[in-house]
Point group: C2
Chain length 574, copies 2
């Protein structure tokens, strides 16, 4: 029986946030500024807030401009783990994390096809190598300073493993992860806690914060960046002067369909970045000669198809696929992947290309679970699809039998055909699904997944989520699926947490032109600039740990800039 189904919510990705984007051509000339500061930080999320704080603590007047009506960006939605090599609590515990080992681990994963332990840069480009060294050097002092100042106190997670802890290159497989101290035990609310804490510190310490200001373009004088122009919700243009530097921290381009399709290595369906992450800095930085790097890769995660295409602002990536009696199957009913792979790697499976047929056969996979997992693995954290009663379960498809479930899945898929290249279930879906379940159940009974090795690596246990206690079982990621209904399903595809590409910066976070020369006064940190991680997702918090390191370095370098006094920097009388 198929329940009555509403028309699905979809939203064109190209709809811009308000205020709308305008021309990014730089402004020049001597208009008075609405306000002047030593350092302007653009973006109030996981990169902008620390950059503003570090700058302020160095004695600068700091103006922070945020496009959204509130601070936080993507970081506020995240668990806000931050990956900090050789951090203070690691050292206190005697965990050794030496730089050469750290560099081998990051290089092995960033560029697996060119990794060369004998190369002076380990197969990375010199730029990537230098940036990775900067992460090692500065992430820990950056985290310590935030903690000392009470802006972001942390809790050490000594048992959390790196995402590739089993590799011989990982000499510090546990201990690099910190989370905001006030986060709950499951750590999933770290972003809300961390953002609130940093925002309070910014307020306390006198950062001038202005929300609902969309920065549109740079203001240039004599080849230097001396300010920005922003538009406000009422459509007015405001000019702001920077005596020392402008630091962009405006996030990636997850929510610009055209940019995603034209840069990313996989045709993802959006993702869980803040909706304001539309790649603004790409257009803004181009005219001063910025060169883009790492535009092909993203911090990836599976996402529920329906929430992704509706651009649900509350969308969470599926950072943890919970449950033991649950599998993913493709349109033929076949199980095709280890469902417990770390999310960045799991997300790539959806984009396996079939060159013989010119299609992506795994573009949408179907997560299927039984009543047992519904009863014991439901959770509203980390983007899990098995949700508890009382939460939004519009993505959940139900059937009393596998046949009924398949009918309901087929019906749901048909509503998204215009967004999936016409994907439908194969006619033999149910019998193949039965075979897949039978095979999986055999693996679950023996505790060994002969096809995909589910549960064999530490990171897969880290993300197993709540499951029913079964004393003595060898593999807690698997349990046989019930031979009777009801059954449940959800449509899954691949998306991004956010993208990784943008202008290339040096290790001081200065944006570089095509000759590798810093563009005077222009800095960038976070997902709006190029990450040296290439394709790697090294560990939980491999986003925010390096971002905080570069925010720290950006603030120090910006502080050293000579103070520019010019007509452009004269505050308006108004």
């Amino acid at each position: 029986m198929v329940a009555a189904t509403p028309t699905p919510r979809t939203a064109p990705d190209a709809v811009p946030t308000r205020p709308a984007r305008e021309s990014a051509a730089p402004a020049t000339g001597e208009l008075p500024a609405d306000a002047v500061a030593d350092v302007i930080v653009v973006g109030g999320g996981g990169g902008g807030l620390p950059a503003a704080l570090y700058s302020r603590w160095l004695g600068n007047e700091v103006l922070l401009l945020e496009k959204a009506p509130e601070l936080g960006g993507t970081a506020k939605k995240a668990a806000f783990w931050y990956w900090v090599p050789n951090n203070v609590p690691m050292r206190a515990l005697g965990l050794v994390d030496e730089e050469p080992d750290f560099l081998r681990y990051v290089a092995r994963l960033a560029r697996p096809t060119s990794y060369d332990p004998a190369s002076p840069t380990l197969g990375l480009s010199q730029w990537e190598y230098d940036m990775c060294r900067a992460i090692y050097e500065s992430a820990s002092p950056a985290a310590e300073l935030l903690a000392e100042k009470g802006a972001l106190e942390y809790r050490h997670c000594p048992d959390v493993v790196d995402y590739w802890s089993e590799l011989p290159e990982d000499k510090a497989p546990t201990g690099r992860v910190l989370v905001p101290r006030g986060a709950r035990d499951t750590m999933s609310d770290g972003g809300a806690v961390g953002v609130a804490s940093m925002a309070a510190a910014a307020e306390r310490d006198g950062v001038d914060i202005r929300v609902s200001h969309r920065v549109q373009r740079l203001v240039l004088a004599d080849g230097a960046v001396v300010g920005v122009e922003a538009t406000t919700a009422d459509g007015r243009t405001r000019r702001f002067g920077a005596r020392k530097a402008v630091v962009f921290a405006t996030g990636g381009f997850t929510h610009d369909l055209d940019l995603r399709r034209n840069f990313l290595h996989t045709p993802v369906y959006g993702g869980c970045a803040a909706l304001t992450n539309e790649g603004d800095f790409l257009a803004i930085a181009g005219p001063v000669g910025a060169q883009l790097r790492n535009m092909n890769y993203a911090w990836m995660c599976p996402v529920p198809l329906e929430r992704a295409v509706s651009r649900d602002p509350a969308l969470s990536g599926m950072f943890s696929v919970a449950g033991d009696s649950t599998i993913f199957v493709d349109k033929t009913g076949r199980r095709v992947v280890n469902e417990k792979l770390q999310y960045n790697e799991l997300a790539q499976k959806f984009f396996s290309y079939d060159g013989a047929n010119g299609e992506y056969p795994y573009l949408v996979l179907v997560q299927i679970w039984d009543q047992r997992s519904q009863d014991h693995s439901a959770s509203d954290e980390y983007g899990r699809q098995i949700v508890p009663p009382g939460t939004d379960d519009s993505h959940v498809i139900r059937g009393d039998t596998l046949e009924a479930l398949a009918d309901a899945v087929a019906d749901r898929l048909s509503r998204y055909a215009q967004l999936t290249g016409g994907l439908t279930l194969d006619p033999g879906f149910v019998p193949t699904l039965r075979q897949s379940i039978a095979r999986f159940n055999g693996f679950a009974e023996r505790g060994v997944d002969e096809d995909f090795h589910r549960g064999e690596k530490p990171v897969q246990l880290l993300f197993n989520g709540p499951v029913k206690d079964e004393p003595g079982r060898a593999n807690p990621t698997m349990w046989p699926m019930s031979s009777s209904g009801p059954y449940y399903a959800s449509l899954i595809t691949g998306g991004t947490l956010d993208t990784k590409g943008g202008p290339r910066t040096n290790t001081d976070a200065q944006v570089l032109d095509d000759t590798g020369t810093p563009i005077t006064g222009l800095y960038g940190v976070g997902n709006c600039v190029a990450s040296p991680s290439a394709q790697a997702y090294w560990a939980g918090g491999a986003t925010l740990g390096p971002i905080i390191a570069f925010a720290y370095r950006a603030a120090q370098a910006a502080d050293r800039e000579p103070v520019r006094e010019s007509h452009q920097l004269t505050p308006s009388a108004s």
Copy 2:
């Protein structure tokens, strides 16, 4: 027995051609020009030569600047098929190729995950859709004009199939391909013929051609592009003025390692584009606000690993894998792909990512063949690996037995370990290879490849190459491999013919800024600008057919530009 093996030739990709790249920051100011023309064309290959000719035939003074010491670029190395929808000889034969059908075919393949026959743009972006319409409209008149003027006479190939001729969307599966008239029967020398013919016409009709001029930057006046600066082999900077327009046709970024790694969707090992294709236009166009598109995709082809990493200027992509008693196997000895897939699709197989192990298990595949294929399928055309006696066979690995061959392959691979992430043969390679051969031989005997369906589609027969005549056999792409040696092998990986991304242009080939407004005086055609083909390789010649169409449109639009007279355009007295 392993023969004595020399140290492999490898060449850092980052070595620039001479003259070296300089800053791309635009020049302004009133320096006198070394020469002035109505239209400056930058690049003398498959896009630049027709753009110059079309402009000249409209009555313009045309200056053509080429970085290399000779004309031709990548086109000269190519077979120079050109794919021309609804072309004149098709129509003469009664082959129907209507625009709506053409558009469905190109859309289905360009964006398979968003193809929607009910959408007004078929799931393409409006820009992609408009550009594809322009190809349909202009490729044929462009080809006809080149022929009428004697610059590029053609031969129609009525039996050559599109690369996806079996799709229901392909309503004109044969007949769209033209080749230069003077090309040999196998058509492989079309590029040399076509370039010589167009170059002779340019000379004849008074195009001012200057080779060994590397354009470094634009010259701007009042926001318009009014010329370029170039450096010559002796290191001197020359300025050239354009009264109407500058048309870039400088090719893609196949030979810039950093750009490849930071933009392409697969970590390819270079490719067979002219060595001058280093992405110059990306840096040059940025400062005037150009926005990059389709930077993730490339015209792909398999390439021999060793010639690719040595940056052999004569490298050919493997457009045709010849032979029947030959297979590709991976490092474990397993056959993993249909060796006769069209080259763009075959090339992607090398970059299948294994998220469980963080590696590309098929990064290098080994083509293996026997004496039969050596005797009957050797050819020095289309990048085939089975070459005749007397040609360079440094890529050929030999063994009297499979064991000896495997030893020699392992030895050869070990010399490239620093470039492959340490790829080695698995210990069980030989027994697995024996099983693979046995299984393949069974398929060959029955004429049916149950694993990969080799030879089942028309395009696979098109590229089968010469094979021994075996009257009556059902599948000419397969024959059992011999149970005795000698055996031969070659190391294969994926590369590009050239890349597909660059500044976005409109249908008149005008480069657009971030608001979609043309940048006055700046045009681009060919692989240096964004292709609307997204991920598709529609057919043989799907590169050059559209390029000629846009060269034609660029010339017409540039001809309509108002003549700009300024101090920048004053020829120098020298």
